[in-house]
Amino acid sequence: MAEEFFIQGNEACAKGAIAAGCRFFAGYPITPSTEVAETLARELPKVSGSFVQMEDEIASAGAIIGASWGGAKSMTATSGPGISLMQENIGYAFMSETPIVIVDVQRGSPSTAQPTMAAQGDMMQARWGSHGDYEPIALSPSSVQEFFDFTIKAFNLAEEYRCPVFVMADEVIGHMREKIVVDEDIEIVPRKRPEKTDDYLPFENIENGTTPMPAFGDGFNIHVTGLTHDERGYPDTNNPETHDMLIQRICDKVLNNKDKICSIKAENCEGADIIIVSYGAPVRSVVEAVNRTDKNVGFIKIDTPWPFPDEQIAELTKDAGDILVVEMNLGQMYYEVDRACKRNSNVHLMGVIGGLLPTPDEILDQIDRIGGN
């Protein structure tokens, strides 16, 4: 039997984490994500899990990586200022191929800016926030149900590709209350334990790029480092070939599986004069505007901003004269859409900052301004 709940987005995220098998949370109080931590502080002990309030966000990111190697699915939740602090350890998680989930309930930014107002200003930080080359996976929910579903999906993807996965929510989705339906059968991806063989390599350069990961204490005696390492995990920092092989594999294990990871929802794109592209909370207003306009307008909702679904978007928009990107920043995913379209269409930006969701009327005004039939 499916169960129904009327809950807040941040509570739904916490619920999703527990459903996905998360049994370790470390975090630091920050608006507007705090309810994720508060809910897990209350709920994790009920499922024999651990909650730790750390001294800052740097420590929170460190603790969940440590816990992941300790054999627990682990998560933290934060907002912009905390995401900024976590970046070095997030890079470490990419380099050490540690599955973790990072929830970012985005607020007005930069700096402390607008703690209680919504924004989507951290999208590029999820992509490029830590130094160096890596390929992140990020999901953007646009409803409380999706915040629940995408948190579960994030854990599954983290295990499948042995990497950090971001859930890029925002203050609107974090704090709104909606009905969610929790199915009885939720698909969970458990961690795969490697076989104990003489030639086991914890960072093997295998074809699909993802090697099974043991827990500390399993008897594999492995060395995990953020330094450039060979397939055994041993530092090998001055060998260009070792670095190239490692980083290429870490990137390719995501890029070569884009068709499995990327998710979009498209409506009415075929023959549309204008296609609106959006993700996260603004999608709600976009749907309403598209329903109300009498023009030939299609829309694309991006579930997975990273890796960016450029091929799917290029295909869907190839015949549209105009594309309108609606997002709550001054242009982040806009540039990705523009790149994907390869100048086949005019790409316009409706970038809204200040903390309030763009309304359907405001989007309709933009549609009128662009023209179309």
């Binding site: 750390m54 300790g70 054999g71 470490y92 492995i222 995990v224």
Partner: protein, 287 residues
């Protein structure tokens, strides 16, 4: 090859990683020996030890030992170790760190881990300088000492780490030097046996950088200075601050049982779910 007696600790080392990167005269070798001797004396199962370290010369030690080891980011080893120990309370988690790693960039994590009294054994190798980056002053460099970033003498007042950690709430804190190996072995053993946050500061020589910058060019010269300046805590307690200037106070600064952090987490788990926190749950389909 001339025949030589095999070091009895060799089975604990990743021989395929040798030779190591430590400089001639570095104290790290003596400290590794002291750790392994203490581990044997404490009757611990080496296979159950997991090591965590940050960045710096001392943090390279776990990479040479044949156990699970997490070589993390600069200053953050204790936060990773907190997650690891909490996720699997059955592991014996040992942290190797240095003065720059633990007390400068990682100072906040150090006092909070001590405050929680989480069951970790931390060996902090204090060489009073940043060795890995080439001889910059650290938060424990003596006032007036020289480093590449203090060409005219260090103006900062150094931290007293063992005292700091004791004040922050650790249940075991001690300081010894590389010229008092037997005391050091006993302190590490006491730390390993203490079910709480155990901090063992080891004052050590860095002839390559601290020595070269401070007219102490040989390891033996540095050891002699260290030995001459050592004062036992029992004696230091009766000395005036002026008399203690430039001295290395050795001994125990905390040694008392206190509530331990992960036991508290388990207690809540038992109350709310009827069992202790799960171990290795990531590998399970149904929880």
């Amino acid at each position: 090859m001339s025949e030589h007696k095999q070091n009895r600790f060799l089975p604990y080392l990743r021989e395929d990683r040798l030779p190591h990167i430590f400089c001639p005269g570095c104290g790290n070798g003596a400290i590794i020996n002291a750790f392994l001797a203490a581990m044997e004396k404490a009757g611990m199962d080496f296979d159950n030890i997991a090591m965590v370290s940050g960045i710096g010369c001392s943090s390279r030690i776990p990479g040479y030992l044949k156990c699970d080891s997490l070589h993390t980011t600069h200053g953050r080893a204790l936060s990773f170790a907190t997650g690891l120990k909490t996720a699997n309370k059955d592991l014996d988690v040992v942290v190797f760190t240095g003065d720059g790693d633990a007390a400068s960039i990682g100072g906040n994590h150090l006092i909070h881990a001590a405050r929680r009294n989480i069951n970790l054994t931390v060996i902090c190798i204090n060489n009073n300088i940043y060795g890995m980056t080439g001889g910059q002053i650290s938060p424990t460099s003596p006032k007036g000492s020289f480093g590449t970033t203090a060409p005219y003498g260090n103006q900062d007042t150094p931290f007293k780490l063992a005292e700091l950690v004791a004040a922050a709430g650790a249940s075991y804190s001690a300081r010894w030097t590389t010229v008092q190996i037997e005391n050091l072995v006993l302190a590490i053993k006491a730390g390993l046996e203490n079910p709480g946050f155990s901090f063992i500061e080891v004052a050590t020589q860095c002839p390559t950088y601290f020595g070269r910058k401070n007219k102490l060019k040989t390891p033996t010269a540095m050891a002699a200075v260290m030995k001459a300046n050592t004062v036992f805590k029992s004696a230091a307690d009766r000395m005036r601050p002026k008399e203690l200037e430039g001295k290395i106070v050795v001994g125990e600064f905390a040694n008392a049982r206190k509530d331990e952090f992960t036991q508290g987490i388990d207690k809540i788990s038992v109350e709310k779910s009827g069992k202790k926190t799960l171990i290795n749950s990531a590998y399970e389909v149904e929880l």
